[in-house]
Symmetry: C3
Subunit: 132 residues, 3 copies
């Protein structure tokens, strides 16, 4: 299992980690199978989406900020980051990537993102490969 | 790895692909393990939900349309389909299905859906099986 | 594959099933690989999030209740639980957990939750392990 550090710089930020996932695959040496890109944090997530136009990430973060505002009436959690936990579960703690012929099988526009929702922080991503 | 074409007919549409997943399993020849049903597109997703009453899908699409409207103030992405990208990440780029005794292990009411959020388009679903 | 019963007591409730997942791993006997924690129901889900302060779960359920109210204009599904199906797809039908050195690799604050959205009910969780 690979553990890869990721430094984030904003409270809410998507970091494109596609090249880190590819490098991990090169170390993992499977040719057919899949990998789990896992986030061990409860206020961050992993998602796969468009990695070409950064405006897509801008718009996704804008929507998340509007739908899950930082402070909300009735919230009890003392750390004041319940919005971060909610966003984490909406996007999910891991993403699965396919491997064929020793290569990541991503769609043409797809990239893998580490989604920070309570930064800036030093984070980790864990990657496990399984196959032949 | 199987690549299966899916033709969609609406901008927002859930296509029940359960029988296609079953056919892929028959080709994949594992008896115990699991499969990844993967969407290589950034404006579509995979989800598992009720496949019996089509009104469930109607209501899910209605809610998504209300919560993630097509046009929103502040959106920058030039293609005008940021709502599609957001819905894609909310539902997720893949679903995992279990296999036991050579059969898909779905709950009684569950089906696997390809979720189109920027159709109509010709799409693909990729399926990878791993096990014994 | 393990099938584990879970009894829920509220309409909307997160049940911490981390210890059940650990017990299943002990039976599954893999040392390196991963497991799929799968929900075979269409009005419930699996998520990984903070298991330390119960106020986090309170706030997540409050947000879900506000964003996906029980009754909504235009909903057609006769059972009246479309909100439950929507929440299920937002959080997802399964979560993947990593295994290294024979142990679950969860982050410090992470736990695995069965998310009930149409309880109280007697439910099942299915867990499949794959690795060495």
């Amino acid at each position: 299992m690979d553990t890869i550090p990721v430094q984030t710089h904003e409270r809410n930020q998507f970091v494109n980690i596609t090249s880190l996932v590819r490098e991990s695959l090169d170390r993992g040496r499977i040719r057919e199978g899949f990998g789990i890109v896992y986030c061990p944090h409860t206020t961050a997530a992993i998602t796969i989406n468009e990695a070409f136009d950064p405006d897509v990430v801008h718009d996704m973060l804008l929507w998340l900020e509007r739908q899950v505002p930082h402070k909300q009436a009735g919230f009890r959690h003392g750390e004041g980051n319940s919005d971060s936990h909610i966003k984490a579960s909406l996007l999910g703690s891991s993403a699965t990537v396919l491997v064929a012929g020793g290569e990541l099988v991503l769609g043409q526009w797809q990239g893998v993102f580490f989604c920070e929702f309570d930064g800036p922080r030093r984070r980790n991503v864990q990657i496990q490969w399984l196959g032949n």
